[in-house]
């Protein structure tokens, strides 16, 4: 009766004992790392760079993407009217188009205005002066409503404009934005590949560091095996060391990326103000921070686990 009760009490305490054991191991592993601060710092710095590089590039691509989304939103459709359409017809057409739901704003750019604008921007004044008349057509600049920003709606609008008898050509200013976005997409793919390669490097760095540590404590491991320690028991301190390396590496990476962002913040704002664009850098969002810490920790864990398992496999009888 009492024996049974004691047994249940013990079973009840098992998770507590286990947790305490884990916590002790984690702290002991951290203590060991801190006892050799210089090598630890070097490893952690290496890991930090390996994580910060793809992490930072990823943040940069996110920012560029956000920028492109803004451009796309502001992009207008330019409708070049056939030369026979005069400005009065164009105004009537504009009034009709303003009725449409998928049109927010229509501006008529008269031939003279277009010529003046072209002159100012192109710097080809002499050539233009030599021309007999104004070769430019009347242009409607159509801005879709901000809500209807999706590509399909825009395509529909462009097609409808194309069908108008007055239309000569519809040019979508967002085309180049799309091309730019595809490029950014490509860059992001590149960052992913870089991240995979550096992830592998990180695994190897942690694995090798832990392997050296195992070499140093080879006798201790052997003795633990002889007195009946399980693989899990032997592995635990090393795996915690790997976890710490990964976590600290992730922290260093976060610091590096934050500092990097702060450093480029000022020049970027200056460039942005040149284009009258308000472009605040999207800093490290919480998910990105968490990802760098999490991936660092996970790879640290994996690297050390593999290193110890390798060693244990080699030291077992047959």
């Amino acid at each position: 009766m009492t024996g049974r009760r004691r047994r249940t009490a013990r079973l009840h305490e098992l998770p507590k004992v286990w947790l305490r054991h884990q916590a002790q191991n984690a702290l002991a592993a951290l203590g060991r790392l801190l006892r050799t601060p210089l090598p630890t710092l070097m490893t952690v710095a290496m890991l930090g760079v390996a994580i910060a590089l793809p992490g930072g590039l990823f943040v940069v691509t996110i920012n560029i993407k956000a920028l492109a989304v803004g451009w796309e939103r502001d992009a207008a459709l330019s409708v070049f009217l056939v030369p026979s359409v005069v400005e009065a017809d164009a105004e009537r057409l504009a009034a009709r188009l303003r009725e449409r739901r998928d049109v927010a704003e229509v501006r008529v750019i008269g031939r003279d205005e277009a010529l003046a604008e072209f002159r100012a921007y192109s710097g080809l004044e002499d050539v233009l002066a030599g021309l007999p008349g104004n070769p430019l057509p009347v242009v409607l600049s159509i801005v879709p409503p901000p809500a209807a920003g999706d590509a399909a709606a825009l395509e529909g609008l462009a097609a409808a404009l194309e069908r108008l008898p007055e239309t000569d050509l519809v040019r979508h200013d967002a085309d180049w934005v799309h091309r730019f976005q595809a490029l950014v997409e490509l860059a992001q793919r590149g960052v992913s590949i870089l991240a995979s390669v550096l992830g592998l490097a990180l695994l190897l760095i942690v694995g090798n560091t832990i392997r050296l540590e195992i070499e140093n404590r080879r006798d201790e491991i052997r003795i633990q095996e002889l007195v009946g320690a399980t693989n899990a028991f032997i592995r635990r301190p090393f795996v915690y060391a790997g976890l710490w390396y990964g976590l600290l590496g992730g922290l260093v990476a976060c610091l590096l990326v934050i500092v990097g962002l702060l450093l480029i913040q000022a020049p970027v704002s200056r460039v942005a103000s040149l284009y009258q664009a308000d472009f605040p850098l999207i800093g490290l969002s919480l998910p990105v921070l968490a990802a760098m810490l999490g991936i660092g920790t996970l790879l640290g864990y994996l690297g050390s686990w593999l290193a110890v398992s390798w060693h244990l496999r080699a030291s077992k009888p047959e």
């Binding site: 004992v17 054991h21 052997r222 003795i223 002889l226 007195v227 009946g228 320690a229 028991f233």
Partner: protein, 225 residues
């Protein structure tokens, strides 16, 4: 407790260290294992503790067929087989108490129980006052006794000792054999490998003799006078 049936152990590039060895130990026995250097004494102990696996033949320990024991069960097997090594195998940078505690810590016991039982084991070998010392600060005989305390701290039913009196003077040897006899009295089965003929002659225990890997004699225990 231990049964060897047609056990052969071949080390690669060396030939047979054991050839067709057969013997059995009943629970509670205390037995010497002797033979010239290289005869295979240590190999027998290593096979029992599963530090090595036999090339051929069957070994049963405490009812378990060692050949069928999966690798992940080996630690649990070793917890039931206390091992004393000639070279002590102590952790030199840990205290005596830490060394003796190791099997219990590895078995997942709580700190209070570990400390209590490790001190009890140290007391049994008469080294409680050295618990905070490092093994290097102890004499060879004392280190050997730390190794013994570590071997018995988990209260294994079987104790294997490889040359436990290897380089000790006769007085210390006696002391250690006395310790083993006391464990034996409380039911521990002991297999002691030694080439100390004088020691074997002076004690009445059953003696197995190996020569070039073969078991050449199995002398029954003599009557105690």
């Amino acid at each position: 407790m231990i049964r060897f049936e047609h056990v052969t152990k071949r080390y690669p590039a060396r030939g047979d260290a054991l050839r067709d060895v057969n013997f059995a130990l009943a629970p509670g026995e205390m037995v010497f294992l002797t033979g010239h250097s290289g005869a295979g004494k240590s190999t027998v102990l290593k096979l029992i503790g599963l530090l090595e696996r036999p090339t051929r033949g069957q070994i049963r320990v405490a009812g378990r067929d060692l050949a069928r024991l999966p690798a992940r069960r080996i630690p649990y097997h070793r917890r039931e087989v206390g091992m004393v090594f000639q070279d002590h195998r102590l952790l030199v940078d840990r205290t005596v108490l830490d060394n003796v505690s190791l099997p219990l810590v590895a078995a997942g016991l709580g700190p209070e129980e570990v400390a209590r039982r490790a001190r009890a084991a140290l007391k049994q070998v008469g080294l409680l006052r050295h618990e905070a010392a490092c093994p290097v600060a102890l004499s060879s005989g004392e280190q050997q006794r730390v190794g013994i305390a570590r071997a018995i701290v988990g209260r294994p039913p079987l104790l294997l000792a490889d040359e436990p009196t290897g380089n000790l003077d006769p007085d210390l040897s006696w002391e250690i054999m006395d310790l083993f006899a006391r464990f034996n009295q409380v039911g521990v089965t002991l297999l002691i490998a030694t080439h100390d003929i004088a020691l074997i002659r002076s004690l009445p225990y059953r003696t197995l003799t190996l020569s070039d890997g073969r078991l050449v004699s199995d002398a029954p225990p003599r009557r105690r006078r």
